[in-house]
Symmetry: C2
Subunit: 196 residues, 2 copies
């Protein structure tokens, strides 16, 4: 089925097939844009309330040229201490991080920080649903990895194991998030299947 | 009981009594500082995972004097579309706004925005716990008001009713949050009582 903007539903096809469907693909939209669009759709349809947290900024200088409009003239990016997205779905607290890689064969664990793992562990312990969304940009494929699975890779690394997760392993073991017209990255579908 | 820093537990006393206890009071710390300290204590003691969302900023210009240090040289404050704090406690999604007023007799509803009410309504509808923390700075008293109660004041205002909530009404009907040394604004105590 073709949608008005010429985009097509992701059919769960392999990387190769996705390549041949290139003109219908999602290429060009960043993962963040896709997730924001998806979250807005969830919000508009009253399905879930999930937001991206604002980028943490350390504000140093602010000018007030007019009463109404403060201009920040010196500020610095701070490292986020948690994850990028959180919210509420079906009575449950939802908390996740999203990462995009241009790598063709693996996802480097250096993309995730130690304090994010600790945060996600606390979330799971207190009854929340936590996960990682990974996009392999070259294949235009986006995967859902439950936090518990991420933890095993993380501790494997800490114990001298691999510093990355192979694309093939992710493709085999994790959940491909279908690309759709409105809920572009419809991760709630995976949550419905895995947690409810 | 006196604590090492000369601060004293809030005894739930009246505004007048709080005034006479001024030297032991919390005066001087902003509500935001108190809540951040409380949240850090909850985090450190593994009681809850609740964070203040970063201030939303529209970044316009960034300079890179060195590779390592990006400096934001032009940015603007954006209005928050949700509330200031959210997180996870006892398997439940927690979401709240905190407001401080210098007014002695009332809390002006103009402190709350329409989109925040809509956000809080969605939270309650989807099974989250939402509330407003109100501090009357002159009395050094901080109250917990469940979102449902805020909604009744809000819709009363929309229907031509009062544009504010009387301090006395809040004192009579809402929940005084005890001031304590570590969990300064121990709002989880109220949540335990009201929701579990």
């Amino acid at each position: 089925m073709n949608y008005p903007n010429g985009k097509k539903k992701e059919t769960g096809s392999s990387g190769m097939a996705a390549k041949t469907n290139k003109i219908f693909s999602n290429r060009g939209m960043s993962l963040e844009e896709d997730i924001n669009t998806t979250n807005q759709y969830y919000l508009d349809t009253d399905k879930a309330i999930i937001h991206k947290k604002p980028t943490p900024v350390q504000i140093v200088k602010v000018n007030y040229p007019r009463r109404s409009a403060a201009v920040i003239t010196e500020a610095y990016f701070k490292q986020a201490s948690t994850t990028d997205y959180n919210g509420l779905y079906r009575n449950s607290y939802i908390d996740f991080e999203a990462k995009e890689t241009k790598n063709k064969t693996l996802f480097p664990l250096a993309n995730i920080h130690d304090h994010q793992i600790r945060h996600m562990e606390a979330i799971v312990k207190h009854g929340g649903i936590s996960f990682l969304i990974i996009r392999f940009a070259v294949y235009d494929e986006t995967f859902f990895m439950p936090a518990e699975k991420l933890f095993t890779h993380w501790y494997d690394k800490l114990n001298g194991g691999k510093k990355s997760i192979a694309y093939k392993k992710i493709k085999d073991e994790e959940y491909l998030i279908p690309f759709q017209y409105q809920a572009r990255i419809d991760y709630l579908k995976i949550i419905d299947k895995l947690y409810f």
